[in-house]
Symmetry: C2
Subunit: 188 residues, 2 copies
C-alpha cells in the first residue's frame, strides 16, 4: 500500500556533484549540487540547478562555464562542506586543502583530487522558480588513470561516487554490480 508524502523533491538516487567556477576576481570556488542530471546525448549536455542566492550562480552567469566534479566517497566530508559554506565568505579550496586546476577548455576550475570531471560551457539558462537550471554542453570528460577499468573507461567501483537521499539528507556509497544494461532485460 502506498502512502502519500506530498509535493516534494523526494526521489532516489540523486547525485553528489561538485560544481567548479571562477568568481569575478578569478578566485576558484566549488559548491555541491544534488539537483542535476544528464539531459541530452547530442550535443552531450548536463543540467545543474542552483538557487540565485548562491555565490556560484553569479559566477556561472558571468563566465558561462562550470565544471562538474565527481567526488569519491573518501571525500564525502569535503563534499558536504562545499554544500554548507559559501564562496562569498570562504575560500573552500584553501580550507579543504583540495587543488583547483584551470580548465583549458572552459573558464572554470576543476578539482584535481576528484577522479571524474566534466568541463561544461553554458548553452541554456532556464528559470524554473527557486532554482535556475544551467544546461552545460560537455566539452570534455577527464578521469584519473587510477579509476580506469576495462575498455579505458572509468569503473564505477573505482570512482566510488556518492549518492544523496534528499529530505532525509543522507549520503550513501555505491553497492554491487547488478548486471549489464541493454542485456539483462532481454529475457522478457
Amino acid at each position: 500500500m502506498k502512502k502519500s508524502l506530498g509535493a516534494k523533491t523526494l526521489v532516489y538516487p540523486t547525485p553528489v556533484w561538485v560544481i567548479g567556477t571562477y568568481d569575478k576576481e578569478g578566485k576558484p570556488n566549488v559548491m555541491t549540487a544534488a539537483w542535476g542530471g544528464v539531459c541530452c546525448s547530442q550535443p552531450p549536455c548536463v543540467g545543474v540547478s542552483l538557487r540565485k542566492a548562491t555565490y556560484s550562480f553569479g559566477s556561472i552567469m558571468e563566465r558561462k562555464a562550470f565544471t562538474v566534479n565527481v567526488p569519491s566517497d573518501a571525500h564525502v566530508r569535503e563534499a558536504d562542506y562545499f554544500g554548507i559554506a559559501s564562496g562569498r565568505d570562504s575560500d573552500k579550496f584553501s580550507v579543504s586543502g583540495l587543488t583547483p586546476v584551470k580548465s583549458e577548455l572552459v573558464d572554470a576550475p576543476y578539482v584535481e583530487e576528484f577522479p571524474l570531471v566534466l568541463e561544461c560551457r553554458v548553452i541554456h539558462t532556464f528559470e524554473l522558480g527557486l532554482h535556475t537550471q544551467f544546461v552545460g554542453e560537455i566539452l570534455d570528460v577527464k578521469a584519473d588513470d587510477s579509476v580506469m577499468g576495462k575498455g579505458g573507461l572509468p569503473d564505477m567501483l573505482k570512482v566510488r561516487p556518492i549518492v544523496f537521499a534528499p529530505t532525509v539528507r543522507k549520503y550513501y556509497g555505491i553497492g554491487k554490480n547488478l548486471g549489464k544494461g541493454y542485456a539483462i532485460g532481454k529475457e522478457f
Copy 2:
C-alpha cells in the same frame, strides 16, 4: 594524472527511473530513463529527457503528464527490459507482469510494485538536441509502507534504487550510509 575521454555523457551516478505514460488509446506504458534529475525545489520539479523517437515522447506531449517510478534492485531486469522494448509494439506491463495503477492526480499510470513514485504534470518542454527535456512539477510523492524509515520517510536502504553507469552500461546497487548531509562537513 587525468586522461581526456572526449565530449560525451559520461558521468556517475545517473538514476534508473521508469517513466509511466498513457498512449493515445489509453494503454499504459513505461520506459526507462537515466537522463534525469531534480531541477527545482519550489515548485518541486524533476526533469527527464527523452528522444523524440521514443513512443513515450508522443504520449507525454499529448497528455502533459508522466510518473517517475523508482525500481528496487530486485526489479533490475524489468527496468532493463523497459529500456530495450518500445511501447509501439509491446505491452510492457503485460510482458513483465507488473501492474499499472491510474494516478488520481495526473493523466499517467504508476507501477504498483515499485516502492517510490512521483506524479508529475509537465510545465516546461525544452528542445535540447537529440533529447527533449520535460520538466514535471511533482504533484505528489508516494511510497510503500514497507520502505519507510524513521521520520516516516523512505529509507534508501529499503528502497534500494539502481544506479546506472552510462557508456559502460552497467547497473549498480546502493552501498553503505556515509553520513548525514549538512553535518559531516562542519569539521572544516
